[in-house]
């Protein structure tokens, strides 16, 4: 089920009301059934994968806890890792790897088992289960934390299944850790109107970001990315800029709705975005963007590679960002995007002493506002350009886009033939940034809930009117659903 569907408008109130009506000891069951229904509505055929992953990690977690011999414990850890990554690899990456191998073999004139004919390739039709990257990483973090004895395994199978399948964050995160979320399922949650209102306002803000802002930017982005050969210069530059904002608003909208929905039910999910555009460096950007994934990569990949395998820092950063790219999708475009981000990070860290020395010799302090703005601009444009690979269907497409973007011979930007929409898009980007500057996503409800009743109700009616009148009628999926 999509958050931005009519079905969710009925689903969520029913789940929420019955959650508080049902006695505490059965609530986990109600939430679990609701979560499976939510997933079944979206992906009926592959729910068994979600269940298989749940059973595997529940079993491995208990075994790792009960056994004392390190070798046996390690075996169960590897069973969990191989089982989860195996499923992820098969369903998400198998076609990508076979196609890439096939292309390489064909380049050297070696006949592939399909004899070069597409219809003969055996595994062409593998469905990608929605949210597999998210729940795989979530269950893996549980197994690794149990192995590291950072968390106690859960005895209650149902509560563990709920931790894996909790519907607000099941298909697109945030990727929660067991020590944060699991204890919350044990707590007896009472009706707290202030908390419920806070959650609902957060959800409303998320819907606004998605339906009014992100989807609106998507109209322009889709037009220029559909056929980059039809445009030159400025419209393509604006398209890439809009896409950077679109993906940010789209994904942060999803997370905001998820956090809000969980809050209504009495649970706290982690923040996934912390005003990412207010970064001061590349490192700072990645501390603010998709926080739950970056923390996962830091704790379960970066640190072990650095500390246990003794790899160099540069190489480790490249591996982490390679994985970051590949995690997003089975396509070379994502890999290249990830590597560009990694290289930016390496350049920043590698040139830091030189840059500082140079600035010192020139007498420019690091706090100089002009310097800070220039740094911000360079990083922002680099990230925006790297996202062209993220958005393009293949590498050639991305290269053509960049090539045409750099041939600055067109200033005609109104490619959707709708000036009102163009200016509205730009105005909304600025508006959201201003609001984020003051409040960030997580404190948005303060803007409304701390006001008088008349103001609040005025806002609620205005919100309905604005969403109805200004949302884009396209039934768009959230971008991160595909991962």
């Amino acid at each position: 089920m999509l958050f931005n569907s009519f079905e969710f408008l009925f689903f969520f109130p029913i789940v929420g009301v019955l959650f508080y009506v049902i006695p505490h000891r059965y609530r986990w069951l109600w939430l679990l059934l609701s979560s499976y229904f939510f997933y079944l509505y979206l992906e009926p055929s592959l729910i068994f994968l979600l269940m298989a992953s749940t059973c595997l990690d529940y079993f491995c977690g208990l075994q790792m806890h009960n056994r004392t011999a390190p070798r046996v414990r390690r075996r169960f850890l590897w069973l969990s890792i191989i089982g989860n990554l195996g499923m992820l690899f098969f369903f998400k990456y198998f076609i990508f790897f076979t196609n890439s191998s096939q292309a390489i073999l064909e380049f050297f004139g070696i006949e592939w088992f399909g004899g070069g004919r597409e219809e003969n390739y055996v595994f062409n039709k593998i469905l990608l289960p929605v949210g597999i990257s998210f729940y795989t990483f979530q269950t893996l973090s549980y197994s690794i934390d149990v192995y590291r004895r950072k968390v106690e395994p859960v005895k209650h199978f149902g509560r563990y299944a709920l931790y894996v399948a909790f519907f607000p964050q099941l298909v697109a995160g945030p990727i929660e850790r067991a020590d944060r979320l699991l204890p919350q399922f044990e707590k007896h949650i009472k009706v707290d109107l202030d908390r419920i209102k806070w959650g609902l306002v957060l959800m409303a803000w998320g819907f606004f970001l998605k339906l009014v802002v992100a989807d609106r930017l998507g109209v322009y982005v889709d037009t220029v990315f559909l056929d980059p050969s039809a445009h030159r210069g400025l419209p393509l530059f604006l398209g890439s800029l809009f896409f950077a904002f679109q993906i940010y608003f789209d994904f942060s909208a999803y997370c905001t709705i998820a956090i809000g929905a969980a809050k209504v039910l009495g649970y706290d999910l982690m923040q996934n975005f912390n005003r990412p555009l207010y970064f001061s460096s590349v490192r700072d950007f990645w501390r603010r963007w998709h926080i739950s994934l970056m923390l996962w990569l830091r704790d379960y990949l970066y640190v072990p590679l650095l500390e246990k395998f003794g790899l160099s820092r540069i190489f480790t950063v490249l591996i982490v960002f390679f994985c970051n790219g590949l995690w997003h999708g089975a396509n070379w475009t994502f890999v290249i995007w990830g590597l560009i981000c990694g290289i930016l990070m390496i350049i920043e860290v590698g040139t830091q002493p030189f840059r500082h020395k140079l600035l010192k010799s020139m007498g420019i302090p690091l706090t100089n506002p002009l310097l800070r703005f220039f740094t911000w601009l360079v990083i922002f444009l680099s990230i925006t350009t790297s996202l062209i690979f993220f958005r393009s269907p293949n590498v050639l497409h991305a290269l053509l886009y960049i090539k045409n973007m750099l041939s600055l011979n067109s200033t005609f930007i109104n490619v959707t033939y709708d000036k009102t929409e163009l200016w509205l898009s730009i105005a909304l980007i600025i508006l959201v940034q201003v609001i984020h500057y003051y409040k960030g996503n997580d404190r948005i409800p303060e803007l409304i809930l701390q006001r008088k009743r008349s103001y609040r109700w005025g806002f609620y009616f205005a919100f309905i009117l604005v969403v109805v009148l200004f949302s884009v009628n396209r039934q768009n999926n959230f971008i991160y659903f595909q991962f």
Binding site: L9, S229, D418, L469, N473, Q475
Partner: protein, 316 residues
């Protein structure tokens, strides 16, 4: 409740104004249809064709039910939509099916018939269930692609374009305070040719057996409701050269399908100098009207001749 009521109110309000270039194609049934991709969408003016067929016994009115390339290549989804457009009782309709390699191609990412069907199901025609009501709120919800405030504050769309209720999109070279120069046309045509060739490298496509098969099925279904004509719309020679490179025996293939099914194939591939495009691929207003007149005349002659043959056979 309030949200839904507000939505319905403004959605209905929007349908009383200009919704989008394709909205008129989803508001009523039509016994005679023009099918194909964007070339047919721009090239066939139903009003001109109707005028040419005044003396012919057929069921109208005509509706231009052609869409842009990604929306209506031949396939199961397009056929289902077409069948919903035609009233059950139709027996004497006329169906002009535009043909070009684009109508039979599919991205190389779509490898199996199931892939193509899944892709087509995501198009406007695949998403829509209700094809023939006005106001069509389903269209607004699923396909409008813009915001409901447009019902209060109307669109500013291209001054060069006029959207007709019969589905035809007219591209005008002249309008009050507006004129497209020959220089612009030449530039657009060059851009289209270079753009198409680059796009073919970037998003490679293949000729799909699935689409050819469903093209045949579409013809079979339409022949039960009336007469079918296959038409290749004229285009710029550069675009034609590209299409010939992609599918060298396209005309031969279409011709053999037409013979097999017993329908005429009106091939205008070499008539670019008689019917000019504004961008290399799509006919502008004057060309479209002249072209529609020409096609209408050919169809009229064919029907008259056919009736004569039938009459003489009956006499005999």
């Amino acid at each position: 409740m309030l949200l839904t009521a507000t939505y319905l109110f403004f959605a209905r309000q929007l349908t009383q104004t200009f919704v989008s270039d394709d909205y008129a194609k989803f508001t009523h049934q039509s016994a005679s249809l023009i099918l194909g991709l964007s070339r047919a969408h721009y090239a066939f003016d139903p009003e001109t064709i109707t005028k040419q067929l005044e003396e012919v016994d057929y069921q109208g009115p005509f509706l231009n039910f052609a869409f842009e390339k990604s929306q209506s290549p031949y396939g199961e989804v397009y056929l289902n939509a077409i069948l919903k457009k035609i009233p059950e009782s139709t027996a004497k309709g006329i169906y002009i099916m535009g043909v070009s390699p684009g109508s039979f191609s599919a991205s190389n990412r779509l490898r199996t018939p199931e892939d193509i069907l899944e892709f087509d199901s995501g198009t406007m025609l695949g998403k829509m269930n209700n094809m023939n009501t006005h106001p069509n709120l389903e269209f607004v919800r699923k396909c409008f692609g813009r915001s409901l405030y447009k019902g209060i504050w109307p669109h500013d769309h291209r001054i060069s374009t006029v959207f007709h209720d019969n589905g035809w999109e007219e591209f005008r070279l002249y309008a009050p305070g507006y004129r497209i120069t020959q220089e612009s046309i030449d530039h657009w045509q060059r851009e289209t040719v270079s753009g198409y060739s680059k796009l073919a490298d970037v998003i490679p496509e293949h000729v799909s057996d699935y689409r050819i098969e469903w093209f045949g099925k579409t013809m079979d279904s339409l022949q039960k409701r009336g007469l079918v004509y296959l038409v290749r719309v004229p285009m710029h020679e550069g675009v034609l050269a590209l299409e010939d490179r992609v599918w060298s025996d396209f005309d031969k293939t279409i011709d053999s399908i037409a013979r097999e099914k017993g329908v005429p194939y009106l091939n205008y591939r070499d008539r670019a100098y008689d019917f000019e495009t504004y961008d290399g691929s799509h006919l502008h207003s004057e060309s479209a009207k002249a072209f529609s007149k020409d096609v209408g005349t050919v169809i009229k002659n064919h029907i008259v001749q056919r009736e004569l043959v039938q009459y003489s056979q009956e006499e005999y």
